[in-house]
């Protein structure tokens, strides 16, 4: 496992001097790095890993410290791996407030800069345990937030449970302490990514999938956009295939750029990279034969 950095827009990469590693006495071994989030000063770097744990580097990735407050949380022995593994896949930071998404652990919140973390899953459901609203253990797929509305968070949770409808797409207006469903109007509340518009905290994007196949309903790809925080949704399909296209978009497979009227991008596990111009109003395929796409990031240069 390596962490590579580039300072020339990807022309050359250099390995950092070390990678996140569990202390020898810990017994756990790094299986994967799921999330890398930069901090404010260009040197601060946070890594969410599998098995679920959080690491921090203050020197651009050359040395790493395990954050015990979540990595050794009292709940950790009771977390279970999802199909992708037991991963800490989402890190959302806002000053001393840190939101983490763990599959399957749920949403954990620190309000003291990462010293301590609490499960914050009120309203976050689970369809695979008897208690529909457990304290923790939910299969959170992604959490998103807009910097200008830090108290508002959006979550794509593991939905698609006929007996527990609506638990898959959620919103919090109190810094993630409590959550409520915003899934009404979507064809499925199962999906992986959830993305917020760069300049409008009310505008969000999801890609609903059939829960059994994890592909677009009826083989007709669509991104769904809400411009009022999830109260209503609009299906965006112009330019996307009309039939027989069973796309799967993974949790980090969709993003937006920073233009005033941004473009939306998503990649599929079948190797297509799509660009949704004018906020997703019209789509074009940028690449159609890439390897499976796990993560899409965009930069304006």
């Amino acid at each position: 496992m390596k962490v590579l950095t580039s300072t020339d827009l990807g022309k050359k990469f250099k390995s950092t001097k070390s990678v996140p590693a569990f202390p020898q006495a810990d017994g756990r071994a790094l299986a994967n790095i799921w999330s890398l989030e930069p901090g404010e000063n260009g040197k601060d770097l946070w890594a969410g890993v599998e098995p679920a744990a959080l690491f921090r580097s203050e020197d651009g990735g050359n040395s790493w410290e395990m954050i015990a407050g979540i990595s050794n949380h009292k709940h950790a022995p009771d977390w279970h791996p999802g199909a992708g593994g037991l991963c800490l896949h989402t890190i959302v930071r806002d000053g001393n407030r840190i939101h983490l998404g763990i599959s399957t652990g749920g949403h954990y919140l620190s309000e003291d800069g990462g010293q301590t973390f609490s499960a914050a899953n009120t309203g976050v459901g689970a369809g695979f345990v008897p208690n529909p609203y457990p304290e923790f253990g939910q299969c959170v797929h992604k959490i998103a937030r807009h910097p200008s509305a830090p108290g508002r968070l959006y979550m794509q949770n593991h939905g698609g449970w006929p007996d527990r409808p609506g638990i898959g797409v959620l919103r919090s207006d109190d810094y993630g302490h409590t959550w409520e469903s915003i899934a009404e109007g979507l064809p499925s509340d199962f999906g992986f990514p959830i993305v917020v518009h760069p300049h409008d905290p009310d505008t969000i994007y999801v890609v609903p999938l059939e829960p059994m196949t994890r592909t677009c309903p009826e083989g007709k790809p669509a991104v769904w956009r809400s411009t009022n925080g999830g109260h209503k949704w609009k299906k965006l399909t112009k330019g996307l295939p009309k039939k027989e296209s069973y796309f799967t978009v993974l949790r980090d497979g969709m993003t937006v750029d920073e233009f005033d009227i941004p473009a939306v991008y998503f990649g599929t596990t079948t190797g297509q990279l799509w660009m949704g111009h004018d906020g997703g109003d019209e789509w074009s395929c940028l690449f159609d034969s890439l390897p499976p796409i796990n993560c899409v990031k965009v930069a304006i240069v």
Binding site: G82, A83, V129, W161
Partner: protein, 91 residues
Amino acid sequence: MTITVQIPSSLRQECGGAAQLEVPATTVQEALKELQRTQPGLYHCVCDETGRLRKHMNLFVNESLLNRRDGPQTKLRSGDTLFIMTAVSGG
């Protein structure tokens, strides 16, 4: 003594649409054997031909997740609920 077996919606078609079944059993293993006898389609979805719990299924007694190896030996009390749940398999 009877216990309640809670059926996930995805498997109800295997037992005539029932959301729950009452079965006589004093252990989880006995409950599974009773399902094998009375609801073979449902049982086949939960356990493989060797009797082992399929990897995409979990069993809970009330709210306690059963260990996959020793779980079937778990003793049941009257009024217990055996939950058959789809194991989480997210992304």
